[in-house]
């Protein structure tokens, strides 16, 4: 897709060069049509294509890993949890392909609402600013508690989730989760999201 978009850009440049080279040969109407195509119509559709492609690129795990501060978190996806007492959610989801391995960070850390992607990109710009122009914090923390809706999107209707004894011990638990009054990452539940090299962290 990337190369198709670049090819179209070259195509537009060629058209503009032809227009400039043979400016006096073209009628006013032809010039206006070519100019409208090259300066108006094409950039709109092409720009949308580029934006779409860039959005797709920025959801990749490799893209998150570009910032040094995120490296331990991306590394934690490959943490070998088999001999560990804690089973980190990120590793188990990533290693079992429960989320796409290409976009694992994005799948769990984006709200699945109408403007979820847009909000995620705005937050990404904030991270960019903090990473490049200010001192990033030593310990990373989520802005808001992790929303259970991101988990319930997949688990909410699964039989395993609904029939799990621990989930039914408290009769209001599932309702409270759906209303975002409680979270899956509470102490005593699924409290470990990532296991970093030296420490546990959310």
């Amino acid at each position: 897709m990337k190369f198709v978009l670049i090819f179209f850009a070259v195509f537009n440049v060629v058209f503009l060069i032809i227009l400039i080279q043979f400016w006096s040969h073209f009628s006013t109407k032809t010039k206006k049509i070519i100019a409208f195509f090259c300066l108006g119509l094409f950039p709109v559709f092409w720009g949308i294509g580029v934006a779409q492609q860039n959005l797709k690129e920025t959801t990749a795990v490799g893209f998150c890993n570009n910032c040094h501060i995120m490296e331990p978190y991306v590394e934690s996806l490959k943490f070998n949890y088999e001999n560990s007492l804690d089973v980190p959610l990120a590793s188990i989801h990533y290693q079992n392909n429960w989320v796409s391995q290409k976009v694992a960070c994005y799948e769990c850390h984006t709200r699945y609402t109408m403007f979820g992607t847009f909000q995620a990109k705005l937050t990404g710009l904030k991270h960019l600013w903090k990473n490049y122009f200010t001192q990033p914090p030593e310990k990373l923390e989520l802005y808001k508690p992790f929303s259970p809706m991101e988990c319930l999107r997949c688990h909410g209707t699964s039989k395993k989730f609904l029939t799990e004894i621990k989930h039914n011990k408290d009769s209001d638990l599932i309702t409270a989760l759906k209303q975002e009054k409680r979270t899956c990452l509470e102490e005593g539940c699924h409290e470990v999201a990532h296991i970093l090299k030296d420490k546990k962290d959310f």
């Binding site: 670049i6 440049v13 400016w23 300066l39 108006g40 720009g47 860039n54 960019l128």
Partner: protein, 67 residues
């Protein structure tokens, strides 16, 4: 090249810069470069369109079509 209106030349230059920057945003791996190239590129493409519209309106006004 003499006959080409100045505004069209500006519009074309901005369009070429915009195309180049957006292509750069597609190929870069750096988040900062991507954000900068994309935002400046989009601004250049929009400005190119505005300059072209200005050129069209200027020509129309010269011909008395806007009176």
């Amino acid at each position: 090249m003499k006959e080409i209106p100045k505004l069209f030349k500006i519009a074309m230059s901005l369009n070429l810069i915009g195309l180049f920057l957006l292509c750069l945003s597609l190929t870069t791996n750096s988040p900062l470069q991507l954000a900068l190239a994309f935002s400046v590129g989009v601004t250049c493409l929009l400005s190119a369109f505005i300059f072209w519209i200005a050129m069209v309106l200027q020509e129309a006004s010269r011909k008395g079509m806007l009176d």
